[in-house]
Amino acid sequence: MPNIPQPQRQDEPVVTEADLAALLAGTTDAIPGLLPVADILAALTAEPTGAELAGEAHALAEFRRQAGAPVPATTARRGTAGLTSRFGVKVGASITAVAIVLGGGVAAAFADVLPAPIQRLAHEAIGAPVPRPGVPHRARPGVPMRAAHGQPAARGGPGAKRQPRPHATATHAAQGSQGNSQGKGSQSEQGKGSSQGQGNKHGNGQGNGQAKQGAARHGTHGSPQMNRRPAGHPRRSVRPGQS
Protein backbone atom coordinates (compact mmCIF):
# COMPACT_ATOMS: atom_id res chain seq x y z
CA MET A 1 0.00 0.00 0.00
CA PRO A 2 1.55 3.30 -0.98
CA ASN A 3 2.46 5.62 1.81
CA ILE A 4 0.69 8.81 0.82
CA PRO A 5 1.24 11.68 3.20
CA GLN A 6 -1.98 13.02 4.56
CA PRO A 7 -2.59 16.74 4.87
CA GLN A 8 -2.83 18.10 8.39
CA ARG A 9 -6.33 18.39 9.65
CA GLN A 10 -7.62 21.89 9.93
CA ASP A 11 -9.06 21.35 13.39
CA GLU A 12 -5.72 20.38 14.96
CA PRO A 13 -4.29 23.02 17.25
CA VAL A 14 -1.04 24.60 16.25
CA VAL A 15 1.86 23.34 18.35
CA THR A 16 4.14 26.15 19.42
CA GLU A 17 7.68 26.06 20.67
CA ALA A 18 6.46 27.00 24.09
CA ASP A 19 4.16 23.98 24.11
CA LEU A 20 7.07 21.72 23.23
CA ALA A 21 9.26 23.26 25.87
CA ALA A 22 6.54 22.82 28.45
CA LEU A 23 6.05 19.23 27.35
CA LEU A 24 9.72 18.53 27.83
CA ALA A 25 9.78 20.24 31.18
CA GLY A 26 6.70 18.34 32.24
CA THR A 27 5.36 21.32 34.09
CA THR A 28 2.13 22.01 32.25
CA ASP A 29 -0.69 20.06 30.76
CA ALA A 30 -0.26 18.89 27.21
CA ILE A 31 -2.43 20.35 24.52
CA PRO A 32 -4.67 17.89 22.63
CA GLY A 33 -2.33 17.66 19.66
CA LEU A 34 0.53 16.56 21.89
CA LEU A 35 -1.35 14.14 24.09
CA PRO A 36 0.05 11.02 22.38
CA VAL A 37 3.52 12.45 22.73
CA ALA A 38 2.88 13.20 26.38
CA ASP A 39 1.89 9.60 26.88
CA ILE A 40 5.04 8.44 25.21
CA LEU A 41 7.15 10.63 27.47
CA ALA A 42 5.25 9.41 30.49
CA ALA A 43 5.87 5.83 29.45
CA LEU A 44 9.58 6.63 29.24
CA THR A 45 9.55 7.50 32.93
CA ALA A 46 7.26 4.75 34.15
CA GLU A 47 8.02 2.60 37.13
CA PRO A 48 11.16 0.52 36.72
CA THR A 49 10.82 -3.07 35.70
CA GLY A 50 12.52 -6.00 37.37
CA ALA A 51 15.04 -6.29 34.60
CA GLU A 52 16.09 -2.70 35.07
CA LEU A 53 16.86 -3.38 38.72
CA ALA A 54 18.53 -6.72 38.22
CA GLY A 55 22.05 -5.39 38.30
CA GLU A 56 21.90 -3.97 41.79
CA ALA A 57 23.74 -6.89 43.37
CA HIS A 58 26.62 -6.50 40.95
CA ALA A 59 26.82 -2.77 41.56
CA LEU A 60 26.74 -3.26 45.32
CA ALA A 61 29.48 -5.86 45.10
CA GLU A 62 31.61 -3.41 43.20
CA PHE A 63 30.76 -0.75 45.75
CA ARG A 64 31.83 -3.02 48.62
CA ARG A 65 35.03 -3.92 46.86
CA GLN A 66 35.90 -0.29 46.25
CA ALA A 67 34.91 0.67 49.78
CA GLY A 68 37.43 -1.86 51.09
CA ALA A 69 40.21 -0.56 48.95
CA PRO A 70 40.29 3.16 48.22
CA VAL A 71 39.81 3.34 44.49
CA PRO A 72 41.49 6.56 43.57
CA ALA A 73 44.69 5.56 45.32
CA THR A 74 44.61 2.10 43.79
CA THR A 75 43.88 3.42 40.36
CA ALA A 76 46.47 6.09 40.64
CA ARG A 77 49.03 3.66 41.99
CA ARG A 78 48.40 1.17 39.26
CA GLY A 79 48.45 3.73 36.50
CA THR A 80 51.36 5.61 37.87
CA ALA A 81 53.31 2.43 38.49
CA GLY A 82 52.98 1.37 34.90
CA LEU A 83 53.86 4.77 33.67
CA THR A 84 56.77 5.03 36.05
CA SER A 85 58.02 1.62 35.06
CA ARG A 86 58.03 2.37 31.37
CA PHE A 87 59.32 5.87 31.85
CA GLY A 88 61.92 4.74 34.33
CA VAL A 89 63.32 2.16 31.96
CA LYS A 90 63.71 4.76 29.25
CA VAL A 91 65.26 7.30 31.57
CA GLY A 92 67.55 4.72 33.11
CA ALA A 93 68.72 3.50 29.75
CA SER A 94 69.34 7.05 28.58
CA ILE A 95 71.25 7.97 31.71
CA THR A 96 73.33 4.82 31.46
CA ALA A 97 74.18 5.48 27.84
CA VAL A 98 75.10 9.07 28.51
CA ALA A 99 77.17 8.05 31.53
CA ILE A 100 79.04 5.46 29.49
CA VAL A 101 79.79 7.90 26.71
CA LEU A 102 80.83 10.70 29.04
CA GLY A 103 82.79 8.41 31.28
CA GLY A 104 84.60 6.90 28.37
CA GLY A 105 85.35 10.29 26.96
CA VAL A 106 86.67 11.58 30.28
CA ALA A 107 88.74 8.48 30.80
CA ALA A 108 90.17 8.80 27.33
CA ALA A 109 90.91 12.45 27.94
CA PHE A 110 92.78 11.77 31.18
CA ALA A 111 94.57 8.86 29.57
CA ASP A 112 95.75 11.29 26.95
CA VAL A 113 94.76 9.11 24.05
CA LEU A 114 92.50 11.55 22.29
CA PRO A 115 93.56 13.36 19.15
CA ALA A 116 95.36 16.56 19.95
CA PRO A 117 92.54 19.01 19.14
CA ILE A 118 90.05 17.05 21.21
CA GLN A 119 92.56 16.55 23.95
CA ARG A 120 93.13 20.29 24.00
CA LEU A 121 89.42 20.86 24.34
CA ALA A 122 89.29 18.33 27.14
CA HIS A 123 92.15 20.08 28.85
CA GLU A 124 90.32 23.38 28.74
CA ALA A 125 87.00 21.86 29.74
CA ILE A 126 87.72 19.30 32.43
CA GLY A 127 91.35 19.81 33.18
CA ALA A 128 92.60 16.78 31.34
CA PRO A 129 96.34 16.64 30.63
CA VAL A 130 97.49 19.01 28.01
CA PRO A 131 98.17 17.31 24.69
CA ARG A 132 101.86 16.71 24.37
CA PRO A 133 103.22 17.81 21.09
CA GLY A 134 104.67 14.91 19.27
CA VAL A 135 102.85 12.46 21.58
CA PRO A 136 99.32 12.68 20.35
CA HIS A 137 98.60 9.08 21.22
CA ARG A 138 99.95 6.89 23.88
CA ALA A 139 102.13 4.19 22.47
CA ARG A 140 100.30 0.95 22.27
CA PRO A 141 102.02 -2.40 22.27
CA GLY A 142 102.62 -3.67 18.78
CA VAL A 143 101.79 -0.38 17.16
CA PRO A 144 104.77 1.45 15.74
CA MET A 145 105.04 4.96 16.96
CA ARG A 146 104.82 7.57 14.31
CA ALA A 147 107.09 10.48 14.64
CA ALA A 148 104.96 13.40 13.76
CA HIS A 149 101.48 11.96 13.88
CA GLY A 150 98.97 14.47 15.02
CA GLN A 151 101.60 17.15 15.40
CA PRO A 152 100.67 20.32 13.67
CA ALA A 153 103.25 21.49 11.19
CA ALA A 154 103.02 25.02 12.53
CA ARG A 155 103.97 23.82 15.98
CA GLY A 156 106.65 21.60 14.61
CA GLY A 157 108.73 24.57 13.75
CA PRO A 158 111.52 24.49 11.27
CA GLY A 159 112.34 21.09 10.00
CA ALA A 160 109.10 19.53 11.10
CA LYS A 161 108.49 18.11 7.67
CA ARG A 162 111.79 16.36 7.90
CA GLN A 163 110.89 14.53 11.03
CA PRO A 164 112.19 11.08 10.00
CA ARG A 165 115.60 12.39 9.35
CA PRO A 166 116.56 13.46 12.88
CA HIS A 167 115.11 10.20 14.08
CA ALA A 168 117.63 8.26 12.15
CA THR A 169 120.35 10.73 12.86
CA ALA A 170 119.75 10.65 16.54
CA THR A 171 120.11 6.95 16.48
CA HIS A 172 123.44 7.35 14.80
CA ALA A 173 124.45 9.90 17.32
CA ALA A 174 123.47 7.63 20.13
CA GLN A 175 125.39 4.87 18.58
CA GLY A 176 128.35 7.10 18.16
CA SER A 177 128.24 8.21 21.75
CA GLN A 178 127.85 4.69 23.10
CA GLY A 179 124.63 5.45 24.83
CA ASN A 180 125.73 8.63 26.53
CA SER A 181 123.63 10.71 24.28
CA GLN A 182 120.59 8.93 25.64
CA GLY A 183 120.90 10.36 29.07
CA LYS A 184 122.08 13.69 27.85
CA GLY A 185 119.31 13.84 25.37
CA SER A 186 116.95 13.50 28.26
CA GLN A 187 118.52 16.53 29.77
CA SER A 188 118.00 18.41 26.59
CA GLU A 189 114.32 17.53 26.73
CA GLN A 190 114.16 18.98 30.15
CA GLY A 191 115.35 22.21 28.72
CA LYS A 192 118.47 22.32 30.81
CA GLY A 193 120.49 23.39 27.87
CA SER A 194 123.28 21.02 28.73
CA SER A 195 122.56 18.43 26.15
CA GLN A 196 124.42 20.28 23.55
CA GLY A 197 127.62 20.34 25.50
CA GLN A 198 127.26 16.81 26.74
CA GLY A 199 126.58 15.63 23.30
CA ASN A 200 129.72 17.24 22.10
CA LYS A 201 131.67 15.83 24.94
CA HIS A 202 130.82 12.23 24.40
CA GLY A 203 129.92 12.18 20.77
CA ASN A 204 132.05 12.49 17.75
CA GLY A 205 131.90 15.27 15.28
CA GLN A 206 129.08 13.87 13.37
CA GLY A 207 127.21 13.03 16.40
CA ASN A 208 127.75 16.48 17.68
CA GLY A 209 126.31 18.06 14.61
CA GLN A 210 123.31 15.81 14.60
CA ALA A 211 122.79 16.11 18.26
CA LYS A 212 122.81 19.83 17.88
CA GLN A 213 120.20 19.57 15.24
CA GLY A 214 118.18 17.25 17.38
CA ALA A 215 118.60 19.46 20.39
CA ALA A 216 117.44 22.42 18.43
CA ARG A 217 114.35 20.55 17.46
CA HIS A 218 113.59 18.29 20.33
CA GLY A 219 114.63 20.66 22.99
CA THR A 220 111.54 22.51 21.92
CA HIS A 221 109.18 19.73 21.04
CA GLY A 222 110.44 17.01 23.29
CA SER A 223 109.98 14.22 20.83
CA PRO A 224 110.76 10.87 22.38
CA GLN A 225 112.16 9.67 19.11
CA MET A 226 115.49 11.14 20.00
CA ASN A 227 115.61 9.24 23.26
CA ARG A 228 115.28 5.83 21.88
CA ARG A 229 117.95 3.41 22.69
CA PRO A 230 119.77 1.76 19.90
CA ALA A 231 118.65 -1.57 18.65
CA GLY A 232 119.40 -4.33 21.09
CA HIS A 233 118.74 -2.26 24.17
CA PRO A 234 115.61 -2.80 26.20
CA ARG A 235 112.89 -0.75 24.71
CA ARG A 236 112.13 2.14 26.93
CA SER A 237 110.38 5.22 25.96
CA VAL A 238 111.38 8.27 27.84
CA ARG A 239 108.73 10.86 27.96
CA PRO A 240 109.27 14.51 28.46
CA GLY A 241 109.67 15.37 32.05
CA GLN A 242 111.13 12.01 32.90
CA SER A 243 114.71 11.61 33.81
Binding site: G33, V37, L44, E47, E56, A59, L60
Partner: protein
Protein backbone atom coordinates in the same frame (compact mmCIF):
# COMPACT_ATOMS: atom_id res chain seq x y z
CA UNK B 1 -6.84 17.16 28.89
CA UNK B 2 -4.22 14.71 30.05
CA UNK B 3 -1.59 15.62 32.55
CA UNK B 4 0.62 12.60 32.21
CA UNK B 5 3.78 14.62 31.80
CA UNK B 6 3.45 16.29 35.12
CA UNK B 7 4.12 13.23 37.26
CA UNK B 8 7.35 12.02 35.73
CA UNK B 9 9.63 14.68 37.10
CA UNK B 10 8.87 13.71 40.66
CA UNK B 11 9.63 10.09 39.93
CA UNK B 12 13.12 10.69 38.56
CA UNK B 13 14.54 13.29 40.91
CA UNK B 14 15.56 12.60 44.48
CA UNK B 15 15.48 16.22 45.53
CA UNK B 16 16.61 17.54 48.84
CA UNK B 17 17.71 14.17 50.12
CA UNK B 18 20.30 13.84 47.44
CA UNK B 19 23.13 15.63 49.24
CA UNK B 20 22.73 13.44 52.31
CA UNK B 21 22.53 10.28 50.24
CA UNK B 22 25.60 11.18 48.28
CA UNK B 23 27.59 11.99 51.38
CA UNK B 24 26.53 8.74 53.01
CA UNK B 25 27.40 6.75 49.90
CA UNK B 26 30.78 8.42 49.75
CA UNK B 27 31.21 7.47 53.37
CA UNK B 28 30.62 3.82 52.52
CA UNK B 29 26.90 3.41 53.20
CA UNK B 30 25.56 0.64 51.02
CA UNK B 31 22.00 1.66 51.69
CA UNK B 32 22.64 5.15 50.43
CA UNK B 33 24.41 3.86 47.38
CA UNK B 34 21.60 1.42 46.73
CA UNK B 35 19.14 4.26 46.84
CA UNK B 36 21.16 6.24 44.34
CA UNK B 37 21.50 3.20 42.13
CA UNK B 38 17.79 2.37 42.20
CA UNK B 39 16.93 5.91 41.35
CA UNK B 40 19.28 6.24 38.40
CA UNK B 41 19.76 2.81 36.90
CA UNK B 42 16.34 2.41 35.25
CA UNK B 43 16.78 5.71 33.44
CA UNK B 44 20.31 4.70 32.55
CA UNK B 45 19.16 1.42 31.04
CA UNK B 46 16.41 3.10 29.06
CA UNK B 47 18.83 5.61 27.67
CA UNK B 48 21.27 2.86 26.77
CA UNK B 49 18.58 0.84 25.04
CA UNK B 50 18.49 3.54 22.40
CA UNK B 51 22.16 4.36 22.05
CA UNK B 52 23.56 0.87 22.78
CA UNK B 53 20.81 -1.54 21.79
CA UNK B 54 21.46 -5.09 22.86
CA UNK B 55 24.16 -4.16 25.33
CA UNK B 56 22.32 -1.86 27.69
CA UNK B 57 22.71 -4.09 30.74
CA UNK B 58 26.42 -4.65 30.31
CA UNK B 59 27.05 -1.03 29.46
CA UNK B 60 25.10 0.09 32.51
CA UNK B 61 27.06 -2.26 34.73
CA UNK B 62 30.31 -0.98 33.32
CA UNK B 63 29.12 2.56 33.84
CA UNK B 64 28.48 1.88 37.51
CA UNK B 65 31.92 0.37 37.92
CA UNK B 66 33.40 3.63 36.72
CA UNK B 67 31.03 5.64 38.86
CA UNK B 68 31.87 3.66 41.99
CA UNK B 69 35.56 4.17 41.37
CA UNK B 70 35.13 7.91 41.15
CA UNK B 71 32.40 8.28 43.72
CA UNK B 72 34.59 9.51 46.54
CA UNK B 73 35.95 12.32 44.40
CA UNK B 74 32.62 13.47 42.99
CA UNK B 75 31.40 16.90 44.00
CA UNK B 76 28.15 18.41 42.82
CA UNK B 77 24.41 18.49 43.11
CA UNK B 78 21.88 16.06 41.72
CA UNK B 79 21.93 17.64 38.30
CA UNK B 80 25.70 17.25 38.15
CA UNK B 81 25.40 13.70 39.45
CA UNK B 82 23.03 12.71 36.69
CA UNK B 83 25.09 14.53 34.11
CA UNK B 84 28.13 12.57 35.28
CA UNK B 85 26.25 9.29 35.17
CA UNK B 86 24.93 9.75 31.67
CA UNK B 87 28.17 11.18 30.38
CA UNK B 88 29.95 8.09 31.64
CA UNK B 89 27.30 5.84 30.14
CA UNK B 90 27.53 7.59 26.81
CA UNK B 91 31.28 7.18 26.71
CA UNK B 92 31.00 3.51 27.54
CA UNK B 93 28.42 3.11 24.78
CA UNK B 94 30.67 4.85 22.30
CA UNK B 95 33.57 2.60 23.28
CA UNK B 96 31.33 -0.41 22.86
CA UNK B 97 30.22 0.75 19.41
CA UNK B 98 33.84 1.14 18.36
CA UNK B 99 34.66 -2.28 19.71
CA UNK B 100 31.77 -3.79 17.82
CA UNK B 101 32.80 -2.04 14.65
CA UNK B 102 36.24 -3.59 14.90
CA UNK B 103 35.00 -7.03 15.88
CA UNK B 104 31.43 -7.79 14.83
CA UNK B 105 30.26 -10.67 16.96
CA UNK B 106 26.64 -11.37 16.15
CA UNK B 107 25.27 -12.51 12.84
CA UNK B 108 22.13 -10.86 11.56
CA UNK B 109 20.09 -13.96 12.32
CA UNK B 110 21.02 -13.68 15.98
CA UNK B 111 19.78 -10.13 16.33
CA UNK B 112 16.48 -9.96 18.11
CA UNK B 113 13.56 -8.03 16.72
CA UNK B 114 13.88 -5.44 19.46
CA UNK B 115 17.39 -4.63 18.23
CA UNK B 116 16.39 -4.10 14.65
CA UNK B 117 15.82 -0.57 13.42
CA UNK B 118 12.27 0.48 13.94
CA UNK B 119 9.95 0.99 11.04
CA UNK B 120 6.42 2.26 10.55
CA UNK B 121 5.11 -1.05 11.82
CA UNK B 122 6.90 -0.58 15.12
CA UNK B 123 5.01 2.65 15.62
CA UNK B 124 1.71 0.91 15.17
CA UNK B 125 2.77 -1.84 17.53
CA UNK B 126 3.94 0.65 20.07
CA UNK B 127 0.71 2.54 20.03
CA UNK B 128 -1.31 -0.61 20.44
CA UNK B 129 0.41 -1.37 23.70
CA UNK B 130 2.04 1.70 24.96
CA UNK B 131 4.63 0.56 27.41
CA UNK B 132 8.06 1.75 28.31
CA UNK B 133 9.66 -0.62 25.86
CA UNK B 134 7.33 0.52 23.10
CA UNK B 135 8.02 4.15 23.84
CA UNK B 136 11.75 3.47 23.69
CA UNK B 137 11.24 1.67 20.38
CA UNK B 138 9.47 4.74 19.07
CA UNK B 139 12.29 6.99 20.12
CA UNK B 140 14.80 4.65 18.56
CA UNK B 141 13.14 5.41 15.24
CA UNK B 142 14.06 9.06 15.54
CA UNK B 143 17.34 10.49 14.31
CA UNK B 144 20.05 9.78 16.87
CA UNK B 145 20.50 13.35 18.09
CA UNK B 146 16.77 13.94 18.53
CA UNK B 147 16.31 10.67 20.38
CA UNK B 148 19.27 11.35 22.67
CA UNK B 149 18.14 14.85 23.46
CA UNK B 150 14.63 13.72 24.38
CA UNK B 151 15.93 10.86 26.50
CA UNK B 152 18.40 13.02 28.36
CA UNK B 153 15.83 15.72 28.94
CA UNK B 154 12.96 13.46 29.92
CA UNK B 155 14.44 10.22 31.23
CA UNK B 156 17.59 11.61 32.82
CA UNK B 157 15.87 14.80 33.91
CA UNK B 158 18.69 17.04 32.72
CA UNK B 159 18.26 20.64 31.66
CA UNK B 160 19.14 21.96 28.25
CA UNK B 161 22.57 23.23 29.25
CA UNK B 162 23.61 19.92 30.77
CA UNK B 163 22.43 18.02 27.72
CA UNK B 164 24.33 20.41 25.50
CA UNK B 165 27.51 19.74 27.43
CA UNK B 166 27.07 16.00 27.27
CA UNK B 167 26.40 16.00 23.56
CA UNK B 168 28.88 18.78 22.86
CA UNK B 169 26.27 20.85 21.13
CA UNK B 170 25.04 24.34 21.70
CA UNK B 171 21.95 24.79 23.86
CA UNK B 172 20.15 26.17 20.84
CA UNK B 173 20.95 23.07 18.82
CA UNK B 174 19.69 20.93 21.68
CA UNK B 175 16.41 22.83 21.83
CA UNK B 176 15.93 22.56 18.08
CA UNK B 177 16.66 18.84 18.13
CA UNK B 178 14.25 18.28 21.02
CA UNK B 179 11.44 20.17 19.35
CA UNK B 180 11.98 18.43 16.04
CA UNK B 181 11.94 15.10 17.81
CA UNK B 182 8.73 15.87 19.58
CA UNK B 183 7.11 17.06 16.37
CA UNK B 184 8.20 13.92 14.65
CA UNK B 185 6.79 11.80 17.44
CA UNK B 186 3.53 13.68 17.12
CA UNK B 187 3.56 13.07 13.40
CA UNK B 188 4.22 9.35 13.88
CA UNK B 189 1.34 8.97 16.28
CA UNK B 190 -0.91 10.96 13.98
CA UNK B 191 0.06 8.83 11.01
CA UNK B 192 -0.66 5.69 13.03
CA UNK B 193 -4.19 6.99 13.59
CA UNK B 194 -3.95 7.02 17.32
CA UNK B 195 -6.65 8.97 19.05
CA UNK B 196 -6.42 9.12 22.78
Amino acid sequence: MRTSAGARTASTVIGEEFAGLLAAAQGGSEAAFSRLWRNANPALVRYLRVIAPGAEEDTAAETWVHVVRGLSAFRGDEQAWRAWLFTTARRRAIDLARHRARRPEAALDDVTAAQLPSSADSAETAMENLSTAAAIALLAGLPRLQAEVILLRVVAGLDTESVARILRKSPGAVRVAAHRGLRRLAQITADAGVTL
